[in-house]
């Protein structure tokens, strides 16, 4: 990896104590999100903007590679996005901005995967497990030393210093056990392992899970109060319910249970989850960010698990947000709020990340739709 332009520094973070409680007193979206996550009914449906380097770098007019490799540019572009879309008392995101962002590469890089960097796209890890015996050679990495984990911890501290108390610098996305295993092994290969070499798959999953837990413990130390477990495990949506119960649930569940429960603990999977939705609450997350309607209808999810986990998402990031008019975006959001908002426990958001090129007025339309159609009690 290229050397990052970053000065390492350690400073006491006692001032971070209470970061979320400060926010609590000033941020309406935090209050609404927390209520929804606790399956209560807030005064209005909260909103979450799911964005990473893809959208954020293009918004700021920089190449995506610069965004990932220069923490200053990463922070400035994230702040520019916050200033464009969020008001002073309305900036809370479950997946925090600002925060470090290396797409899906953090855990895999620490396990030894080399990264392929692109000029204007996210980096991608190259698999390192070619044969079963390679798994035996894998070791749980040291988050303070290995791969991008060390960079993440430094970047959190760097961002904390830069923004002082104005923003809460949060934990980045972690990648769930199935996806880390798929990246380290190769996606096709790992899916075949599940069918043909389940023992090898379990062994690899165990190492991935321990890697994620050890890494998140360090992230928690650096982030301080306000830490929450944010996991995206898209590849787990490739599995049947039975396979998910065997290969995804136990490992991801152990990750969540290794930390103090926070209703804002977040699980994301924007692959198919129609087959999985009934068991998603067993993971131990408070919020489930589901994909667009073709992966699972939100009405179906609300009926099955709406009383057990807060639902977030389902607005199609590509079919709707990226290509429709603001009026059409508002209509789609109104329909989803109508299906999922009743009684609370729903956060309006996209079913996956907002993509580059998405018209800014469509993001505005999503935020406004919560205000226009999401006031409780909902009008029918």
């Amino acid at each position: 990896m290229e050397k990052m332009r970053l000065k390492q520094s350690r400073k006491p973070r006692s001032w971070l104590k209470g970061a979320d409680s400060q926010m609590k007193s000033r941020d309406i979206n935090y209050e609404r999100t927390l209520a929804a996550a606790e399956l209560k009914q807030p005064d209005q449906v909260p909103v979450e903007l799911l964005m990473q380097g893809d959208f954020i770098s293009s918004f700021s007019g920089i190449r995506e590679r610069e965004y990932y490799l220069d923490p200053g540019k990463m922070l400035n572009s994230q702040l520019a996005v916050i200033k464009r879309f969020c008001k002073k008392d309305f900036m809370f995101n479950v997946v925090p901005l600002p925060g470090p962002d290396f797409s899906v590469c953090i855990e895999a890089s620490a396990l030894g995967c080399k990264l392929r960097w692109f000029e204007n796209g996210p980096p991608w890890p190259m698999p390192i497990v070619k044969v079963a015996s390679d798994v035996d050679r894998l070791e749980v990495p040291d988050p303070r030393r290995d791969g991008l984990m060390a960079n993440v911890l430094e970047i959190i501290e760097y961002m904390q210093q830069k923004v002082d108390r104005e923003y809460f610098v949060g934990p980045p996305w972690s990648i769930g056990a199935v996806t880390v295993a798929s990246l380290v092994r190769g996606i096709n290969e790992f899916m075949v392992d599940i069918h043909l070499r389940p023992d090898m798959a379990h062994k690899l999953l165990r190492i991935c899970m321990e890697t994620i837990i050890e890494y998140l413990k360090e992230v928690e130390n650096v982030v301080g109060e306000g830490f929450r477990v944010i996991i995206g495990d898209d590849m787990s949506g490739f599995l049947s319910k039975k396979e998910f119960e065997t290969f995804a649930l136990p490992y991801n569940k152990q990750i969540y249970s290794s930390f103090k429960y926070n209703p804002l603990n977040f699980f994301h999977c924007d692959s198919d989850t129609h087959q999985l939705v009934e068991i998603i609450p067993e993971l131990g997350a408070g919020i489930f960010n589901m994909g667009p309607p073709e992966t699972c209808g939100i009405g179906q999810a609300k009926g099955k698990v709406g009383k057990r986990i807060c639902l977030m998402g389902n607005v199609a990031p590509y079919d709707v947000l990226a290509v429709k008019t603001p009026l059409e975006v508002a209509k789609a959001c109104a329909e989803i709020i109508g299906e999922a908002g009743e009684g609370g426990g729903y956060i309006l958001s996209t079913g996956g990340l907002i993509g580059r090129g998405t018209p800014l007025e469509n993001v505005d339309a999503l935020i406004s739709a919560a205000e226009k159609y999401g006031q409780y009690p909902l009008s029918r």
């Binding site: 043909l196 949506g237 049947s240 590509y318 580059r356």
Partner: protein, 215 residues
């Protein structure tokens, strides 16, 4: 005996059986004198049809499609040497790849297995394929269809760049273009002038067959 072996082969693939069993029955079918093209059509393709239907019925998921594609490739590896010199009319010829800057190939590989099962001749260009390579391969293979895949919003525009390169070389009217992948949509296919959008692997194969029929 013939039908028994072919049905068994189809059912092994349809049930995502052990690859060793699939390979054994494929060899038994060849040993029994069944023509290799019949093995492909009534054994392997029939098995992939079962898989496709189970996927559409939401009994199978992506991991199952990947497994089925693996079984198909294993069996084809045994049958293909016997197809040399046999006059088999392919459904059509496809050149397929993941566009420049994108390394994702799960969907593409599933589509390839299903295309081969549907007796398409497929030339896989792999991942991170430059527009110029698509152009060169169109000239080389004279395909009926070009398939392009992308997973990232950052690489999606490469589909348009590739179509523009095909147009600039004056060969757009020689090929039908199908796009697919997580970030592709019907709207985008229309916008960039693709002929079809494959929302999933079975649909992509269905549309490829229609486009070839249409000519």
């Amino acid at each position: 005996m013939r039908m028994g072996l072919l049905e068994k082969l189809a059912s092994l693939i349809g049930d995502l059986a052990d690859p060793d069993d699939v390979k054994r029955v494929t060899e038994e079918a060849l040993d029994a004198g069944i023509e290799p093209n019949v093995i492909v059509k009534s054994g392997l393709a029939a098995g992939m049809d079962i898989v496709g239907k189970k996927y559409e019925m939401k009994e199978y998921f992506i991991a199952d499609l990947i497994m089925a594609a693996t079984l198909m490739q294993e069996a084809l590896g045994i049958v293909e040497p016997h197809l040399k010199g046999v006059e088999v009319k392919a459904t059509g010829r496809v050149v397929i790849g993941t566009v420049k800057g994108d390394l994702h190939d799960i969907g593409k590989n599933i589509v390839i297995a299903m295309l081969r099962a549907a007796r398409f001749e497929v030339h896989d260009l792999g991942v991170d394929v430059e527009p110029e390579k698509f152009v060169r391969k169109i000239k080389e293979f004279q395909p009926d269809i070009i398939g392009m895949s992308a997973l990232l919003t950052s690489t999606l525009p490469e589909m348009k760049t590739t179509i523009d390169a095909i147009k600039a070389n004056g060969i757009r009217d020689r090929v039908n273009i199908i796009i697919g992948g997580r970030v592709a949509t019907q709207d985008y296919a229309d916008k960039i002038g693709a002929d079809a959008y494959g929302e999933d692997a079975p649909k992509a194969v269905e549309k490829a067959a229609k486009l070839v029929k249409r000519g």
